[in-house]
C-alpha cells in the first residue's frame, strides 16, 4: 500500500507542475501522426496540419476563408490570353536553420523550381525519395495544366499553361504547392541522406520544427524572422491523442488548448462548458445520391425529381448526422463563393412523387438498386443507415431498392464505371474553387471510369463549366456558377444529401483562432491570453 501512496503523492506533485505549463505555448491535441513533413507526398489532413506551421506557398488561403491571397509571391499577373502567370516573389524571406544546416541565402526562384520540379520531373534527384507518390499534384491535373515553369530572375517566376485555367491559383495554394529550400535539399543530397529532407522540415513558415516523436508529440518554435512578422506564440505543440474522448478530457483539464474532431455525443456538454469555446461551420464537402442517367428510368428528369421528393432528407439529417450535418440544396457547400441562395430544394412529398413516377410511365412496384459505401467518410457518418432509410422512403413510392456495397476501392471503381442505378458518394473540396465541385457533373467526367457518377452530360451546364474555367473575372464566373446550380437542381442528377458540420472546440483563453473551411488547423495569428 505504501507504494500506492507514494505513487499518489508523485501524481499530485506532477499534476501541480503540469498546470504551470508555458504560458505562451499553444498545445493542439491532434488525432494522429503525420506520414512525414513534405505535404506533396501526402494525402491526409493530419500530415498537412503537421507540416503547415513550417511552410508557405506561393499563394495561400487567407486564414479562415477560401480566398486566395499572396504568400511567398507578393503579386502576380495573368497574360491577356490567360496562358502565362508571372509571379513576383517576395524578397528577404528567411529559411529556418537546423542543428546541421544553416541557410546561406534568402528564398528565391530556385526554391520554387525545386518544389514543383521534384513532383513533375521524373528525373529530378528527389523525385523518387520517400515513395514519390505526389498524389495531389497528379490529381489536380498539374502535369496536364503546366507547359513550363521558368525562372526569369531570382525574384520572378513565369508559369506557362497549356490552356487558360482560373482555378490553378487555388491549386497552388493547396498543400502540395508548399515551397521548400533547394539549398537544404542540396545539402542533404551531398551528405548522402536525402530521406531526412522529408523528416526534418526546413521552411519559411511562422514556426520552425523542433522535434517529433512518433505517436506522441511534435514541437515547433516561433520563427522570429518570419517574413510576415513573428507569431504571437512562443511555441506550438501537437500532442497526438487519437481518442476523441481523451482529447476532450485534455481540453477540459487545460492540457491542450485546441482539439481535433470532437465526438458528436460530447457536443452538448461542450456548449455548456464555461471554459470552452465551440465553433462550428459547414464543412467543405457534400454527400449525395447519384442517379445513373444511363439506367432507365433514371434517364427521365421527372423520375429523378420524383426520387428527390420521395426521400425524407430532414429525417436523414436528424437521425444519421445528429446535429453534425446540414441539408444540402446545391452541389457546393454554402462556404464556397458563388453559392446560389435562391435555389429551392425539392419538398418531401411522397404522394406527388408517386404521381410523377406514374406520369413518367414507371410501373410500380419496380426493382432498383441502391449502393452505399462500406466506410465512414467525412461527409457521411453512416452510409448504410442512410441507405436503409432511403430504401424505406423509396418503398413508399413503389421503388423497391436492393442495397448493394463492395469493398471501398472496388465500390468506387464500379460506381465510376456506372454499374449502379442509385449510388451514394460524396466529395471533399480541395481548393475552395467552385470548379473543384462542379467538374463532378461535367461531361468530361461522365466518361466510363470518370467521376461523374450519374453519367449526366448536359450541354447548358457543361458549356458554362468550361467557360467559367477560362475566365479570370470572379464576378463573371460567379454568375455562371449560379446559373449552373439552377440547372443542376432542375435536372436533378443527384439527390444532394448533406454537408457535414465541422466543430472546433478551443479553450476560452485562445484568441483569434479561426475555423477553416478546409478543415485545416492553423495557428499563425493565434494567441493565448
Amino acid at each position: 500500500m505504501t507504494f500506492a501512496t507514494r505513487l499518489l503523492a508523485a501524481t499530485i506533485l506532477a499534476a501541480g507542475l503540469s498546470t504551470a505549463a508555458n504560458a505562451k505555448t499553444l498545445v493542439y491535441c491532434s488525432e494522429g501522426s503525420p506520414e512525414n513533413f513534405t505535404p506533396a507526398l501526402n494525402t491526409t489532413g493530419t500530415s498537412f496540419d503537421a507540416a503547415r506551421p513550417v511552410y508557405n506557398q506561393l499563394v495561400e488561403f487567407a486564414r479562415g476563408t477560401t480566398e486566395v491571397s499572396p504568400g511567398l509571391a507578393e503579386s502576380w499577373t495573368v497574360s491577356d490570353d490567360g496562358l502565362t502567370i508571372t509571379f513576383k516573389l517576395r524578397s528577404g524571406v528567411k529559411f529556418h536553420s537546423t542543428k546541421e544546416f544553416t541557410p546561406s541565402r534568402d528564398f528565391n526562384a530556385d526554391d520554387v523550381l525545386f518544389s514543383f520540379n521534384r513532383q513533375g520531373d521524373p528525373n529530378h534527384p528527389y523525385h523518387k525519395i520517400s515513395g514519390g507518390a505526389y498524389d495531389y499534384y497528379n490529381d489536380m491535373g498539374m502535369p496536364d495544366l503546366i507547359a513550363s515553369l521558368e525562372k526569369v530572375d531570382d525574384l520572378t517566376i513565369k508559369m506557362v499553361l497549356k490552356e487558360p485555367n482560373a482555378p490553378i491559383l487555388a491549386n497552388l495554394a493547396m498543400d502540395f504547392g508548399t515551397i521548400h529550400s533547394a539549398e537544404y535539399a542540396d545539402f542533404l543530397l551531398k551528405a548522402g541522406k536525402p530521406e531526412e529532407f522529408d523528416q526534418v522540415p526546413v521552411g519559411t513558415g511562422p514556426f520552425s520544427f523542433v522535434g517529433y516523436q512518433k505517436d506522441a508529440v511534435i514541437r515547433y518554435r516561433a520563427f522570429p524572422d518570419h517574413w510576415a512578422g513573428a507569431a504571437p506564440l512562443d511555441g506550438l505543440v501537437f500532442a497526438i491523442t487519437p481518442d476523441a474522448t481523451a482529447r476532450y478530457a485534455k481540453l477540459q483539464k487545460g492540457e491542450c488548448h485546441v482539439m481535433f474532431g470532437p465526438n458528436p455525443a460530447d457536443l452538448a456538454a461542450m456548449k455548456e462548458d464555461q471554459n470552452i469555446n465551440l465553433m462550428s461551420q459547414p464543412g467543405l464537402n457534400i454527400a449525395y445520391l447519384s442517379m445513373n442517367v444511363e439506367k432507365p428510368p433514371f434517364d427521365k428528369k421527372e423520375v429523378r425529381q420524383a426520387v428527390n421528393m420521395a426521400i425524407d432528407k430532414a429525417a436523414l439529417i436528424k437521425d444519421v448526422y445528429q446535429g453534425a450535418g446540414q441539408a444540402a440544396t446545391n452541389p457546393i457547400p454554402p462556404t464556397i463563393w458563388s453559392y446560389n441562395d435562391a435555389v429551392q430544394d425539392y419538398e418531401y412529398n411522397p404522394d406527388k412523387a408517386k404521381e410523377m413516377l406514374a406520369a413518367a410511365g414507371v410501373t410500380t412496384p419496380m426493382e432498383v438498386d441502391l449502393w452505399y459505401m462500406p466506410v465512414q467518410r467525412p461527409y457521411n457518418p453512416n452510409a448504410r443507415r442512410i441507405a436503409e432509410m432511403m430504401q424505406a422512403d423509396l418503398a413508399k413510392v413503389g421503388l423497391n431498392a436492393k442495397l448493394v456495397t463492395y469493398e471501398w476501392g472496388e465500390y468506387r471503381k464500379r460506381l465510376q464505371a456506372g454499374e449502379h442505378m442509385l449510388g451514394q458518394l460524396g466529395w471533399t473540396g480541395d481548393n475552395g474553387d467552385p470548379d473543384n465541385f462542379f467538374f463532378l457533373l461535367g461531361c468530361a467526367a461522365a466518361r466510363e471510369g470518370g467521376q461523374n457518377l450519374s453519367k449526366w452530360c448536359n450541354k447548358d451546364f457543361d458549356d458554362r463549366l468550361l467557360q467559367a474555367r477560362k475566365l479570370t473575372d470572379k464576378a463573371e464566373r460567379t454568375k455562371l456558377y449560379e446559373e449552373m446550380q439552377v440547372i443542376a437542381k432542375e435536372e436533378a442528377p443527384w439527390v444532394t444529401i448533406a454537408h457535414s458540420v465541422v466543430y472546433e472546440p478551443t479553450r476560452k483563453e485562445v484568441k483569434d483562432y479561426k475555423i477553416s473551411p478546409f478543415g485545416r488547423h492553423e495557428f499563425y495569428g493565434v494567441s493565448i491570453e
Partner: protein, 336 residues
C-alpha cells in the same frame, strides 16, 4: 534438462515460420491494397495504380512475394513502412520500449494487488470477503478495457484532477530518448520532477492494462492457496505453533506461487491485446496502436514485421516460462 531445452527450442522454429506465413497471408486476405486505401473519392488511374503496385512489388504472384519477404528476413531486412518510408525495425525499436514499459508497470500493479487478493480470499474462503474479492476479480476480467479506461480518466483526471489524462510525460519536459523507457530517460535527464511526471502518467494506463491480469492472478492465487492450505505440511506448521504470518507467507504462499508464476508469464498475450486499446485511450506511443494503424492503412511491411517481432518475443517468453517451470518442477522435465 538440456534435452528438454533443446527440444523446446527446436519447436519454436516451426511456430515462428507458421506465424510468418499466417501474417503474410492474413493481411493480404483483407480487401483493398495499400495504394487503393490511400486514395479518396477521386480514386486512382489504372496506370498510376499499376506503377505503384509495381514499385511495392505487389504485382508479383503472392508466392514470389512471400519468398522475397522470407529472403529479406534472413538478411535481417524487415522491410520499409509504406506509410512513413522508414525501416520497420527502426519504427519497432522506437515504439516497443513504450509498450514494454507500460506492460511492466501493468504487471507490477497486477501482482502487487492480485496476489494479496488471492491469498486473502483463500484464507477467508466462503466468507463475504472471499465473495466480494472474487466478484471484483470477475468484474475486472470481464470489463471492456475502453470503457474502463475512459471511466478512470473521467473520474481521476477530469473530476478529481489527480492524474494527467494521457501521454507519457508532461509536455514541459523535452529530452531525446536514450533507452526509450520514459521513467529511466526522465531519471537520466536529471530534470527536476521529470521522474514523478513520468510515473504519474503511468498510473492510469498501468491500472487499466493491469486489470485483466490482476483478475487472472487473483483467481489463480486463490485456488493454488486453497490447494496448498489443505496440505499436511501446512497443518504441521500450524501444529508447530508458527505464527499465522509464517504459515501463510513462508510455507503456503511460496508453494502456491508456482502456478501463479506460470499465469504471470502467460499474460504476455493478454497484455499485448489490451495494449492496443490502452495505448489508444492514453495516447501511448507503443506498438499496439502502430499495428492497428498498419492494418487500417494496409501497411504490409510494418504489419508483417511488427507481428513477427512481437510474436517471436511472445514465443520466447512462453519458452522461458516453460523452462522455468521445468526447473522448479522435475515432473515436467522428465515427462515425454
Amino acid at each position: 534438462m538440456l534435452a528438454h531445452f533443446v527440444r523446446r527450442l527446436l519447436l519454436t522454429i516451426p511456430t515462428i515460420f507458421a506465424l510468418m506465413f499466417l501474417t503474410f497471408v492474413a493481411i493480404r486476405l483483407v480487401p483493398g491494397d495499400p495504394v487503393e486505401v490511400r486514395t479518396g473519392e477521386r480514386g486512382i488511374s489504372p496506370e498510376r495504380l499499376e506503377e505503384f503496385r509495381q514499385q511495392l512489388g505487389l504485382d508479383q504472384p503472392i508466392v514470389v512475394q512471400f519468398f522475397d519477404y522470407v529472403r529479406d528476413l534472413f538478411s535481417g531486412d524487415f522491410g520499409t513502412s509504406i506509410i512513413s518510408h522508414r525501416p520497420v525495425i527502426e519504427e519497432f525499436a522506437t515504439l516497443f520500449p513504450a509498450t514494454l514499459e507500460l506492460s511492466f508497470f501493468a504487471m507490477v500493479f497486477a501482482v502487487l494487488f492480485g496476489v494479496p487478493m488471492g491469498v486473502i480470499a483463500a484464507l477467508k474462503r466462503g466468507s463475504v470477503v472471499d465473495h466480494s474479492l472474487m466478484g471484483v476479480a470477475l468484474f475486472g476480467y470481464s470489463m471492456p478495457i475502453f470503457w474502463w479506461g475512459l471511466l478512470l480518466v473521467l473520474f481521476f483526471s477530469v473530476t478529481l484532477d489527480l492524474t494527467p489524462v494521457s501521454g507519457r510525460i508532461d509536455l514541459l519536459y523535452f529530452f531525446e530518448p536514450v533507452t526509450g523507457f520514459m521513467v529511466i530517460d526522465a531519471w537520466l535527464s536529471g530534470e527536476e520532477g521529470a521522474v514523478s511526471s513520468a510515473l504519474s502518467h503511468l498510473v492510469l494506463p498501468a491500472v487499466v492494462l493491469g486489470t485483466i491480469p490482476l483478475a487472472a492472478i487473483a483467481r489463480m492465487t486463490r485456488s493454488a492457496m486453497l490447494e496448498v492450505l489443505g496440505e499436511d505440511y501446512v497443518r504441521t506448521a500450524r501444529a508447530k505453533g508458527l505464527s499465522p504470518f509464517r504459515v501463510v507467507g513462508l510455507h503456503a504462499l511460496r508453494n502456491a506461487l508456482i502456478p501463479v508464476v506460470t499465469t504471470i508469464g502467460l499474460q504476455g498475450g493478454t497484455l499485448l491485446a489490451g495494449a492496443v486499446l490502452t495505448e489508444t485511450i492514453f495516447a501511448w506511443p507503443g506498438i499496439g496502436k502502430w499495428l492497428i494503424e498498419s492494418i487500417a492503412r494496409r501497411d504490409y511491411p510494418a504489419l508483417q514485421g511488427g507481428v513477427l517481432l512481437v510474436s517471436t518475443l511472445l514465443v520466447f517468453v512462453n519458452l522461458g516460462v516453460d523452462l522455468l517451470n521445468a526447473a522448479v518442477n522435475p515432473r515436467i522435465r522428465h515427462a515425454r
